[in-house]
């Protein structure tokens, strides 16, 4: 995977997270909503950093939720899933780049993995790769 491919994939993933957190926040009560808001801000900031690092070829921006999200429990499940899925995307970016962008990628992956657990997700030896949730 080239650096640009990996960066495009990470940006597309961040766009998906931003979309998902709009739905997640709508189904949570005050404390969860604040947590979702902080996560949303973080994903927006990482997307902007990735966009600033080079060219971006946008893909199709139609998202389909993996399951219906109509209550707080489903909203948390979606948050766990989208955070887990970002970790391998950032690991691929770390693999295909070096220096500052690699440092940013590994930092972003750590933040996503920690948030997935903070939302109640399981810990994983290789986050996003060894979870049934990530393989659907």
């Amino acid at each position: 995977m080239s650096e640009q491919q990996a960066r495009n994939a990470a940006i597309a993933g961040e766009d998906a997270c931003i979309y998902a957190y709009g739905i997640i926040g709508a189904h949570l009560a005050a404390a969860g909503q604040r947590k979702a808001r902080r996560a949303l801000d973080s994903h927006r900031a990482w997307r902007d950093r990735l966009l600033a690092a080079g060219d971006y070829v946008p893909g199709s921006a139609a998202y389909e939720l993996p399951f219906p999200v109509q209550d707080a429990a489903a909203a948390r499940r979606l948050a766990i899933l989208v955070e887990q899925r970002m970790v391998p995307a950032y690991a691929d970016l770390a693999a295909s780049t070096s220096g500052d962008l690699r440092a940013q990628a590994v930092q972003a992956g750590c933040e996503c993995a920690a948030r997935s657990v903070a939302w109640g997700g399981p810990t994983q030896a290789f986050p996003g790769l060894d979870s049934p949730a990530a393989q659907d």
Binding site: D92, D100, V106, F126
Partner: protein, 170 residues
């Protein structure tokens, strides 16, 4: 939510990164991608291999120490076992991924545990923070792209152990 599974793609493509890997090593040492492009003193691929072996050995040692710390804690505070065993197993997977084939039984408890279960959990969380930081640094310094990818995943796993430990009640 449908988007292409990046992990699968990464595994399929990661093998092709070795050639540019040793340039990345120079970049990491200098903290600058620009220098790698201008560097006239590229390390040989043998240097890059030796570098990757050294990094793997260092990470394997650190993982073995973490495993021992968890084993010591579980032995002293059996009530924490249910919460800690899954995390311990993840460190064993990290150790195995370093492929160094350590002969030592890393699950043997060593040293003295803290006085209370609560203190032991705090010590483990501190150790995980340090581990995640060390893995991030090793990832940035890695001369090999595939090694960088594994270290990024291990760093993320360890960063996520911190909130998990916070949920375990002493």
């Amino acid at each position: 939510m449908t988007w292409t599974g990046p992990g699968v793609q990464g595994r399929a493509h990661a093998g092709g990164l070795g050639r540019r890997g040793f340039l990345a090593g120079a970049a990491a040492l200098a903290g600058s991608m620009a220098l790698a492009a201008c560097s006239s003193a590229s390390p040989t691929s043998a240097d890059a291999d030796a570098d990757a072996i050294a990094v793997r050995a260092q990470v394997a040692d650190a993982e073995a120490a973490l495993i021992a710390q968890y084993a010591t804690t579980v032995a002293a505070f059996p009530e924490l076992a249910a919460g800690l065993q899954p995390i311990l197993r993840e460190h064993q997977a990290h150790l195995a991924a370093m492929g160094t084939g350590l002969a030592t039984d890393a699950s043997t408890p060593v040293g003295q545990p803290p006085a209370t279960a609560a203190q032991a959990l705090i010590a483990l969380a501190d150790a995980e923070r340090t581990a995640a930081q060390q893995r991030r640094e090793a990832c940035v310094a890695a001369s090999d792209g595939e090694l960088a990818r594994i270290l990024a995943l291990i760093a993320a796993s360890e960063a996520a152990h911190v909130p998990a430990l916070g949920e375990i009640r002493a």
